[in-house]
Amino acid sequence: MPFAPVLHSEWLKIRTLRSLVAGLGALVLVTAAFSALAGLDNSADADFDPLFSAFFGVSFGQIAAITFGAQAVSAEFQGGALRVSLSAVPHRGRWFAAKATAIGVPVLAVGLLTGCVSLAVGKAVLGERASGMSWGEGLRGVVGCGIYLALMALFAAGLAMLLRSGVATLSILIPFLLIVSFVVGDVSGSAADFLPDKAGQVALHETWGGALGPWTGLAVTAVWAGAALLAGAWSVRRRDA
């Protein structure tokens, strides 16, 4: 079976579910809104990072991205939908690759848009305080934001396929992102730098001190996402549907 029709089918699945489309809208809005809020905080901080302030909302927007990835997969585990999908496309590896593409590409596109909006809003709110930020840094932040969000959505998608449940995936990932990472994350220069979110978010900072730079950080997040996708692919190929 050729890949293109399978991808078309998976893309239609996403487009025809209102909650998924709304999730992508929420990604832009939540990120921009929290970035604006962060910019309003005027307290003078020694290690104030104007770029990260403009992308601060990503910490919350990523919840929308992982929810999107997890839901797009978990829709297959409602009422035997997976059986219908796999009887239409019995090549399971190809099927899951199409699904991952149909998840990753839209999140990348919307993530880039999110980056642009967030940067624009953030700069507007910061005003004078963003003056030190260069165009190159801004561009790196926007691209990093898009790639980071797409990778997190794929990470969640792979995990949801492995766990065969969106609820299970989100109840692991959301507390992890909101609590564990916030708490452990402040201890910089440790293994915590290599957590999927910490590593990828280096790209959203003007300066960094840890072992990972913006692109190596995203590469580490990509390894996490790739591992989750491989685990998901292994699961769908090996297990009875």
């Binding site: 029709p5 409602q78 939908a81 009887s87 239409a88 019995p90 549907a241």
Partner: protein, 310 residues
Amino acid sequence: MTSIDVQDLTKEYGATRAVDRLTFSVVPGRVTGFLGPNGAGKSTTMRLVLGLDRPTSGTATLGGRAYATLDEPLRHVGALLDAQAAHGSRTARDHLRVLAASNRLPERRVDEVLEEAGLASVARRRVRTYSLGMRQRLGIAAALLGDPPVVLLDEPSNGLDPEGIIWIRELMRRLAREGRTVLVSSHLMNETASFADHLVVLGRGRLLADTPMQEFIHARVDPRVRVRTTDGAALRDLLARHGYDAVEGEGERWIVSHARVDDIGRLTSGAGLPILELAAQEGTLEQAYLDLTATEAEFAAQSPTQPQEA
């Protein structure tokens, strides 16, 4: 010609053997009823045929090929497994468009099968708003999408209203007339009797019968004749003389076992006995099925260890 061939198929889930060395074929041009109590392994067998579950041993092929090797399988095989499979937030039309896209089926087919299933007027409504019967129709529409030569339906009449039951019956008969291979599982005997030509019966994962339906019934249920006469005593004596056993039933109707109307009619007419009513009582699939399962239960009770060939 595409037939379904199941060869020595076995599926174990942990310690339980859901399908136990099953061998049978489903041939084109007739409706094959797939019977057995709940948990007999009917649905598991269908999933194995569709390559959704991996067999522990044995094979299931369609026209000699494993399902997973079919290119654009919806053009070869259509299946209804679970009426709840369509996502509630999607419209019926979108559900079918998704399936059609993956197998490069024209969008025209989507509208055709919706029309055929009687869902054209509600095609743009969300599946969440559908009754079980409507979901069942949508599942059948999905099975017909690729105009496949092989159709597998798991309990298709579930939740259908009387009109729907007649529709599905006519549909299955037509599909068989068109030369397709039709396998339909059910645990409703009267329902199955109304559409099946051939039967494959399972019990605890094993094959109990694989025969034409009429043969199955005739082999297991004795033909009986119902007679009403003005003189019951004379009738009984007459029949007894000729070796028939007659029992009086309700409303002075006599039931004669092991008999056919042709014989009883001639006999009573020859004896000058006035007959008010004479009718054949055909055995029902239900009786035949119960007889089979009773034999099976007896067999199982006699041998405490599972009767399995080495």
